[in-house]
Subunit: 221 residues, 2 copies
DNA sequence: AAACCCCTTACGGATATCTGTAAGGGGTTA
DNA sequence: TAACCCCTTACAGATATCCGTAAGGGGTTT
């Protein structure tokens, strides 16, 4: 079994619940917990440099902002940072998100080894996921249907980026600027226009208000 | 200290974290946990009828849908149901919501005794909240500013009429026409402009997208 | 009655949106 | 290589928005 596991989870109650369960129900020598991505990364890096690396990272995706600004503010950022140091570390994501369009890129882009969806069986699933990943298999919570192209229009990461900014009141011109600053492409106002128009068709929306309203009500933004 | 506490929380990891902490750090004889609102209510009701009532309910607000349809699907519904049976039971809400506009009604309408916002100190706060509520005081997580100027801006019927139409993709010109057809006054496009601009200020929105998004997320449309 | 406030409305200008057309690049196919 | 498709981008025109100014009406205050 894994010898050293690092837990990154910002909710104290959840964090304790995970640590307790792993301590009581698994044979792991060393389980460490952190409430901030930055702190988790530091702990991971120190251990790696001391040649006592962690075998497994279990991380949430969304982290509340703390009182001081942080460099790493999301599970995705943490995973990227960790992988740069140690490409071989195993990663399991433990999050409440259940949208395949958001989970899929974690596997394809970030090469995570397991995804556990928080819920009424989340802790049991996490234990199973750890065992599976230890056997070099991947694990995904059964309620997630990753290959569900079931006619529902899939919003990809890029769509979500734009939609979330629109919902926060940015204009398309501003979004275009933001994308350019972040070196994300495509980034022209014209392309954003086109993307959104395509979403109008896909969701039967008359204009931006309508589209944003529909998607929020569907819980997709 | 409270003798019997009931926990309603649907995420298994969080649920276990809370129960473990209360068992280890408080002197409570009987702590019971449930993952569904309905089950929590049943357990509460049976205990009440057996004259061994719970002293305190600790509940989340949002619950995932399960495989079978349930009668009670939210913390709010659970609180209402519980209060109908036993108006005196103490209630503490433990949720990730941090919007005063959503938390205020819990105190004013549902007469809860404490509100703990999940976060990096959530478990410690919950312990304090339980102690405070036991002393017949109320508790609110310090990061929540209930009397911040968002003193629950009231949307009147006319505001809602306009906002709902905007959320359904009507333009202000169309809304003006609709109002005229229904002999509702005022109905000029200019007045609708003014009303909505006033709502921008009230809710700190940059434009219509932003306003609609905020209000839907707050559950006000 | 005059002064005042608030609401409604019209209007105009600066921006933003929505939509269509067209040009160019990259990749695939024939 | 040519034909083709898809994506990105620029551009332009019609609408829609956002916001300020100003005029008029109704009610209240002085």
């Amino acid at each position: 079994m894994f010898k050293k596991i690092l837990i990154a989870e910002d909710f104290q109650d959840t964090n304790k619940g995970i640590v307790n369960a792993l301590e009581n129900r698994m044979e792991v020598e060393d389980i460490q917990e952190e409430l901030y991505c930055d702190k988790a990364f530091n702990r991971f890096k120190v251990a790696f440099l001391n040649k006592e690396p962690y075998d497994l990272l279990v991380t949430d995706l969304s982290f509340k902002e703390g009182p001081v600004a942080r460099r790493l503010t999301s599970g995705q950022a943490l995973i990227d940072a960790v992988r740069q140091v140690d490409p071989d570390i195993k990663v399991i994501v433990n999050s409440m998100i259940d949208d395949p369009a958001q989970i899929n890129p974690l596997f394809t882009d970030q090469k995570i080894n397991g995804y556990v969806c928080k819920g009424r069986n989340g802790l049991n699933e996490l234990i199973i996921a750890i065992q599976e990943v230890y056997q070099n298999r991947t694990y995904v919570s059964p309620q997630i249907n990753l290959n569900s192209n079931n006619s529902v229009f899939e919003l990809d990461k890029y769509d979500l980026l734009i939609l979330q900014d629109l919902a926060e009141g940015f204009t398309k011109k501003e979004i275009s600027e933001k994308l350019k600053n972040q070196n994300i492409s495509p980034n022209s106002e014209s392309t954003i226009d086109k993307k959104v128009s395509r979403l109008f068709d896909a969701f039967g929306a008359k204009n931006t208000h309508h589209l944003i309203a529909k998607l929020i009500k569907q819980g997709r933004i």
